[in-house]
């Protein structure tokens, strides 16, 4: 979930536009007294802004729908990121939707500044003869003028740890993006907790997966740096344990085994109730805490998420 600060409703105060794993676009309206409650952004037909796949709250299950342009068929993509931008330079904010699968779609605003009327279908963003796509499952795109040519370019992180740049070679109001260029290569490490290989560093060196990026002039030197939130896995060096520590390790391993068994039971279910989803989240956190403590005793691969600065030279 990645917020964008923008004056969406043109009232002079910054709002937040956010895409979440639910698959729909959210607005958190700002006001002079603070932020209001989040609301789902609607299209010109009063429907949620989404792609093909989404979490259906009424049915409490993952669901699919079709919002393809007339006569076309989009893939069943899952919207995870939303950016408000004046794409066609007509003075109002359109919506760029990022799909987890790596593709991008546009919802044009047919309304006015502050009174949006978004089209009811998802228009794929072209790139040459194909569609714009980044590798490694995208997290969230940012539109910034990376190469200082007056046009917004697209910088995007990915779940594989890579960060990509698609330069805008179009004209004002008609963006045209080139193929993704690698700004940061993929991390080359397993994505999930406890699944590290033998070739791990002894300490965190860089984010290697789940990379969310912001391109900002962090140090005020006039060029854009990268802020990257991401996960990394490392393996601390082995050490000798005291008798008390060995006992604690035994207890922790037993607790871990029990929590893993409970989680496997929930994972095996085709659908889960609200209560079961809450239990799953609790177990996930418990396993993370157990793993964190075990890592202080055992040289097992350890994963954690940090925020990193890639300062541009």
């Amino acid at each position: 979930m990645c917020p964008q600060g923008v004056d969406f409703n043109a009232d002079g105060v910054n709002d937040l536009v956010v895409g979440t794993m639910e698959g729909v676009a959210f607005l958190v309206p700002g006001s002079t007294s603070g932020f209001k409650q989040p609301e789902r952004v609607l299209d010109c037909e009063g429907r949620h802004i989404l792609l093909g796949k989404f979490f259906n709250r009424e049915a409490s299950k993952w669901d699919e729908t079709d919002r393809s342009p007339k006569g076309k068929k989009n893939p069943v993509d899952h919207c995870v990121a939303v950016v408000a931008v004046d794409w066609d330079a007509d003075g109002d904010l359109d919506l760029l939707l990022g799909a987890k699968e790596g593709r991008f779609y546009l919802r044009k605003n047919k309304g006015k500044k502050g009174q949006p009327e978004f089209t009811a279908y998802n228009e794929p963003i072209p790139a040459g003869k194909s569609v714009l796509e980044v590798p490694g499952e995208l997290t969230a795109p940012r539109l910034v003028d990376w190469n200082d040519d007056g046009r917004f370019d697209l910088v995007c992180g990915s779940h594989d740890g890579g960060v990509y740049l698609c330069e805008n070679k179009g004209k004002k109001g008609k963006p045209a993006f080139g193929k993704p260029e690698t700004l940061i290569p993929p991390g080359g490490q397993p994505r999930f907790m406890g699944s590290g290989s033998g070739n791990l560093p002894a300490e965190p060196l860089r984010p290697t997966s789940g990379c969310y990026v912001d391109a900002v002039d962090y140090d005020g030197d006039g060029d854009l740096d990268l802020l990257v939130g991401g996960r990394c896995t490392w393996k601390p060096e082995e050490r000798q344990l005291t008798a008390a520590e060995q006992q604690r390790v035994k207890e922790l391993l037993a607790e871990e085994k029990s929590a893993q068994a409970e989680m496997e039971k929930l994972d095996a279910k085709a659908s889960r109730s609200e209560e079961e989803r809450a239990t799953w989240s609790q177990l996930y956190r418990k396993l993370e805490d157990l793993d964190k403590e075990l890592c202080t005793y055992l040289p097992r691969p350890r994963s954690a998420e940090f925020v990193w600065l890639y300062r541009r030279r």
């Binding site: 979930m1 917020p3 989040p38 690698t182 954690a304 925020v307 890639y310 300062r311």
Partner: protein, 111 residues
């Protein structure tokens, strides 16, 4: 043995840095980055205490004080705000505070 390990780690660091010196076709400009560093908040590695999953950082002025704060979203739909508590020209992030909405922690439904 220790010397070999130090050399191996140094080689790994050097490879990592080299991989991140990347240029792209079509222009003389290069995107070269220094080796990544982990940000600190309140004197600890950011997220060491918060334990966010999939932290998504962005610099925003969320309280309209004319200064950018570091804002991080997470998988659970929450947003944390870090104020810059450094002296002028120095960036030092303070402790995380959850972004509020109408007196409560702001939470977006994630799924």
């Amino acid at each position: 043995m220790k010397g070999i390990m130090v050399a191996a780690v140094a080689a790994l660091v050097s490879t990592t840095i080299a991989l991140e010196r990347v240029s792209w076709a079509g222009g003389a400009r290069k995107a070269e980055f220094e080796a990544p560093v982990r940000l600190l908040a309140d004197g600890k590695f950011l997220n060491e205490v918060e334990n966010m999953l999939y932290p998504s950082p962005v610099l925003l002025d969320v309280d309209s004080d004319g200064q950018r704060e570091l804002v991080c979203g997470d998988l659970w739909g929450r947003l944390r705000v870090y104020e810059n508590v450094g002296e002028e020209g120095d960036t030092t992030w303070g402790p995380a505070v959850k972004l509020q909405s109408e007196g409560k922690d702001l939470e977006l439904p994630n799924w």
